[in-house]
């Protein structure tokens, strides 16, 4: 209970800081817009290859871009922890009865909330581009939840890396290192059917792909709710595991003081 309250207080603090510099949210949105608008236009005929489940490439692409954006955002989320460590904000909290768990969790929750806000904005733009969400309002919710879960799963890892390395340069290197491979090993840009066999296998173990499949599943016709639930379930489980890992690295940070 105290952990939840403290998490809330700290999320409020981080969100307020973020809102003071909304340029950050704008910057994080430029890239997905480029993918959505430029890439969507450039490759719009790719659906003729088959296996896309729709003739409209932008409809195929939009839910995946929401998830991709959430994933990229998550790989950077540890930067905020490093800033707080550098500025000794974390140490100040450690000398109070503040919940230790909340210090870590608030970073992950803030990251996921940011991803949700971005998801809504991207979806609105997608709507303007003529994307139709087949399952309606519930579909919107599922896309946003998928984005949040992919984000929190990777935010946990990013927090752990931040706490282990405590260096911005290392964080940037790792974020770049895992970003593109996990993107291309998913069906974000191309239908699963068009992938080489080994990639299909690899993508099954890629959490980004779980999110993409769930989000796309509710946007395109022929939704299989069982698969959507299963993908979201896996992501939830993974989020719990990575949050646990981040908390464990926080303990080792405390011991190092």
């Amino acid at each position: 209970m105290q952990t939840l309250r403290h998490t809330w207080f700290m999320v409020v603090r981080q969100s307020r800081n973020l809102a003071r510099e909304p340029i950050w949210i704008v910057l994080l949105l430029v890239q997905p817009m480029i993918w959505l608008i430029l890439y969507g236009q450039l490759f719009k005929n790719v659906t003729r290859l088959g296996g896309f489940g729709t003739a409209s490439y932008v409809t195929f692409l939009a839910p995946a871009i929401v998830v991709m954006n959430a994933f990229f955002g998550a790989t950077w989320s540890g930067m905020s922890m490093i800033t707080d460590l550098d500025r000794k904000v974390v140490e100040r909290f450690l000398a109070t009865p503040a919940s230790r768990l909340a210090i870590v969790l608030s970073q992950i929750v803030r990251s996921a909330v940011t991803a949700a806000i971005q998801a809504v904005i991207i979806l609105i733009v997608a709507l303007a581009l003529g994307v139709h969400v087949h399952t309606g309002a519930l579909g919107w919710v599922v896309v946003i939840v998928a984005a949040m879960l992919v984000n929190s799963a990777f935010a946990g890892i990013s927090q752990a890396i931040a706490l282990l390395t405590r260096r911005e340069a290392t964080m940037i290197a790792i974020a770049n290192f895992i970003g593109l491979p996990l993107l291309f090993l998913s069906s974000t840009l191309l239908a699963q059917k068009q992938m080489p066999h080994w990639m299909k296998i690899a993508s099954r173990f890629n959490p980004v792909n779980w999110g993409v499949k769930a989000a796309r599943g509710v946007v395109l016709p022929g939704t299989d709710w069982g698969i959507v639930a299963q993908d979201l379930g896996f992501l939830l489980l993974l989020s719990a595991v990575t949050a646990g890992f981040a908390t464990w690295t926080f303990r080792s940070y405390q011991r190092s003081l």
Binding site: H6, M10, R87, E91, P97
Partner: protein
């Protein structure tokens, strides 16, 4: 009753023995200073007492709570103002204070009025709703102190409260700390590497050097142990032993040798003794490059108990 008790604290970081058996006690309601040069172990001692760092060995308690076994009870009782601020620069002064109060379990009207009261008490009420990034160094330091006081702690830890402030702001901060100690009925443990600061603020102080407490007492007691004045003589060449013998023969017993050319002696009345000392040295053909006379200060106390010059050690020289 003792507000703070440290008992044989030890802590090492790699090959460095930061604390090598630190023991002292701070009485309820007093202002106690840990005085020592950079790297002496003052901050590490404070970090153990505020539950940030676990000691390798030894025991400590604050306000009757054991820092290891009852860490959360200690955290509720203390205010900690660290050396590096720890303020969130992107929040306003008020937001920083409100969050600090909330994690200390405060809320509602009580917290709001306490924050307002503190903002006025430390004199930053006008800047309360501005983002901290735009604060001056002095204002930031005042906010730091207010953050340590939100939950009405009984014991306040100030780690190097005036480092980085200009001399004027430093004197203002001294007045502030004295006033707060009174207004909030606090026990204060402060660390400093400014001898004047300890002299000015502390009811009692302990000199820390190389992870140990060297001596402990009131500033007056410590200075009284060193009667008379310090005469520091710098020689033109290195005939140190001759110089020491000659100085002793005219009643200026050499106390410490600072380097191969500088010797410090203690005499009852420096002004009177000085001409005699210089004449004797000249008579023996020993050239004097410089001489200085000083009334007893905590500098001398440090030199006396550690055999090292405080200022040089503080700058990291040997």
């Amino acid at each position: 009753m003792d507000a703070i008790v440290a008992d044989d604290l030890r802590k090492h970081y790699g090959a460095i023995q930061a604390l090598d058996g630190v023991s002292f006690a701070v009485r309820d309601g007093e202002v106690f200073a840990l005085l020592g040069p950079n790297g002496a172990g003052k901050s590490t001692t404070v970090r153990v007492l505020v539950t940030l760092t676990r000691p390798d060995a030894g025991k400590a308690s604050v306000a009757g709570h054991d820092v290891l076994r009852e860490a959360n009870a200690v955290r509720r009782t203390i205010g900690y103002v660290p050396q590096d601020s720890g303020v969130d620069p992107y929040g306003t002064g008020r937001e920083n204070l409100m969050l600090q109060g909330r994690v200390q379990g405060m809320g509602g009207r009580d917290l709001q009025s306490r924050v307002k009261e503190l903002l006025e008490l430390v004199g930053i009420a006008d800047a309360a709703d501005r983002v901290v990034r735009g604060y001056s160094g002095g204002m930031k330091r005042r906010l730091d102190i207010a953050l340590g006081l939100v939950h009405r702690p009984r014991v306040l830890f100030l780690d190097e409260p005036t480092t980085g402030l200009d001399p004027e702001a430093r004197v203002a901060m001294w007045a502030e700390v004295s006033r707060l100690a009174q207004a909030e009925a606090l026990t204060i443990l402060l660390t400093t590497h400014y001898l004047e600061e300890a002299d000015e603020l502390a009811d009692r102080l302990a000199i820390v050097s190389q992870g140990r407490i060297v001596v402990e007492g009131t500033p007056r007691e410590l200075k009284a142990q060193l009667r008379g004045d310090a005469v520091q003589v710098e020689l033109q060449d290195g005939r140190l032993d001759d110089a020491k013998r000659i100085m002793a023969s005219v009643g200026a017993e050499p106390e410490t040798v600072l380097d191969e050319r500088t010797v410090v002696a203690r005499v009852e009345d420096g002004g009177r003794a000085l001409p005699g000392i210089l004449a004797a040295l000249e008579g023996a053909g020993i050239g004097v490059a410089g001489v200085s006379l000083s009334r007893t200060s905590l500098d001398d106390v440090y030199l006396h108990y550690t055999g090292r010059d405080f200022q040089r050690e503080d700058r990291g020289e040997q």
